[in-house]
């Protein structure tokens, strides 16, 4: 047998069916015996079953595109209610989170910043700002809520107690009156301390690490990087959370791409002469018209403004 077509691999097929069955709920004693017998028959069965469970756990990554259309109604991030919290469940998750198929979901809410920055106020712990495209889950149990940053970057400020933030491979405790910017992209997670002291723990570590203002930790594929930023760098990397974009000698094409990320009215550069010129400055990330006019003044392009796009000729 030389085929690598998984859809045709009979062992994988059986493993998928078992994981789907377990995801449904309780096994009968007969099913349970059958599964255990099958697992003991061949090491490949055991491996295929472990792989199928791993795939099902990894399927939580679909949380990164919450914008996908779902049948019937589902709660929107902007209109929260206690009833909605009860209805929305916890299943889509961080790859790091242990997942047990069939376990009832707990109350949680997933937020995604879909059009610009999303400001959230959590009355029992603090304030959050989600960058465009960021996906965050808030889990509510018996104690204080905890936050899972699934994708993107978020600015968190603890105001009324400790905030627990989880990312892939990196968990953080923010004591009262501390703040940070956290960033998650797949297996890469990092956090930059803006105020106060925070406690971090990377996957596999037993002790927590204390980080102070301007210190930055990055976890990436089992490697931990630590560095410290200057005040100027701190201003630059936090600019987005204040509604600003700060460019230092950035290629015009890249700057336009960044502005466009936050706006539905897109800037289109049709004059190739300035595509590779560089620009510095601080701009509002939500005002593409102003930015286009500044570019026109600097580079001599002509802006043509329409409701959905701004052409620079």
């Amino acid at each position: 047998m030389k085929s690598d077509d998984l859809s045709a691999n009979p062992i994988d097929e059986i493993a998928f069916e078992w994981v789907a069955r377990l995801d449904r709920g309780t096994l009968s004693s007969r099913e349970d015996a059958t599964l255990k017998l099958w697992l003991k028959q061949d090491i490949r069965h055991r491996g295929a079953f472990a792989r199928a469970r791993t795939i099902w756990l990894s399927a939580g990554r679909v949380a990164a595109f919450q914008g996908a259309s779902l049948p019937a109604t589902r709660p929107q991030p902007a209109s929260l209610s206690r009833r909605a919290f009860g209805r929305v469940a916890l299943a889509a998750g961080l790859a790091a989170a242990a997942f047990i198929p069939g376990q009832p979901a707990e109350a949680s809410q997933i937020y995604q910043a879909r059009s610009g920055l999303l400001h959230l106020h959590e009355p029992h712990c603090g304030d959050l700002i989600l960058d465009q495209g960021t996906v965050l889950r808030i889990r509510r149990g018996s104690g204080a809520p905890s936050f899972d940053l699934l994708h993107g970057q978020a600015h968190l400020t603890a105001r009324k107690g400790l905030i627990r933030l989880n990312m892939d491979g990196l968990s953080i405790d923010l004591p009262d009156r501390s703040s940070l910017i956290a960033h998650a992209c797949g297996a890469e997670s990092d956090a930059l301390v803006l105020d106060g002291n925070i406690l971090t723990r990377c996957s596999g570590e037993r002790e927590q690490r204390v980080l102070h203002r301007r210190e930055w930790i990055r976890y990436d594929h089992n490697r931990i990087s630590l560095s410290s930023l200057s005040d100027d760098d701190l201003e630059r990397v936090t600019a987005w959370s204040r509604g600003l974009l700060e460019f230092h000698s950035v290629n015009v094409t890249e700057a336009i791409r960044e502005i466009n990320r936050y706006n539905t009215q897109k800037i289109i550069l049709k004059n190739p002469a300035c595509a590779n010129r560089r620009i510095s400055g601080i701009f509002s990330l939500s005002d593409p018209v102003i930015f286009a006019r500044i570019l026109s003044e600097i580079f001599g392009t002509r802006p043509v403004i329409a409701p959905t796009e701004i052409s620079l000729l």
Partner: protein, 203 residues
């Protein structure tokens, strides 16, 4: 019998080990596609068999001690291939020559071996969007909204048996996503906050 009870009954079984499954999800399955591509170079080897045996072997390993999961995975696969060759009664000389010619991967993956994460999510998005409508709905309701299979069946007005079949179908599609070759970009995420001034290797 509940799922949790089954886990306790089988301490040495794949039915338990949720933490290890989470570790596999984070550290191994992202490299499965590259592993399969590498394994295809060997003659007389069934790629699926080796991959399955790798996953089974990880269940018996203390993964907390593994500092370079990708390199560990490839070394493990290489050993399994070698065992297959040793067990085989008939094996071509060219297969053995090919095997000897293969270099094991370095601990640090090259940029070409790391699929850029955003692109990965886009592929996943595309894959899910291309699923048959019913399967896509079940997958999203189950894994995005976290509804139980029973709740999904009620939401969609279909039987639980159909939901279970669609979950298996979704798993099959996800399996292809994590294993098939694609023209993946190789660029790794750029440093966002400037240069790293100190690097601490995890113990």
């Amino acid at each position: 019998m509940t799922w949790e009870a089954q886990l306790e009954d089988e301490p040495d079984n794949v039915l338990g080990q949720d933490e290890k499954i989470a570790w596999l999800s984070r550290h191994i399955i992202p490299h499965e596609r590259a592993l399969r591509g590498w394994l295809r170079q060997f003659r007389d080897i069934e790629v699926d068999d080796v991959v399955q045996e790798c996953y089974a072997t990880f269940l018996d390993v203390d993964v907390a001690l593994i500092k370079a999961p990708q390199a560990y995975l490839f070394r493990m696969a290489r050993n399994i291939v070698l065992q297959h060759y040793r067990r085989a009664r008939i094996i071509s000389i060219t297969a053995l020559a090919d095997f000897d010619a293969q270099n094991i991967m370095d601990d640090a993956p090259s940029p070409q071996q790391v699929v850029e994460v955003r692109q990965e999510l886009e592929y996943l998005h595309q894959m899910v969007e291309q699923l048959p409508e019913r399967c896509r709905q079940v997958l999203l309701l189950r894994r995005l909204e976290g509804l139980s299979q029973r709740q999904v069946s009620q939401r969609l007005g279909i039987s639980e048996n159909i939901v279970e079949k669609q979950v298996a179908r979704g798993l099959r599609a996800l399996s292809r996503f994590f294993s098939e070759d694609r023209d993946a970009p190789a660029k790794r995420g750029a440093k966002q906050y400037g240069e790293v001034k100190a690097v601490v290797e995890k113990r």
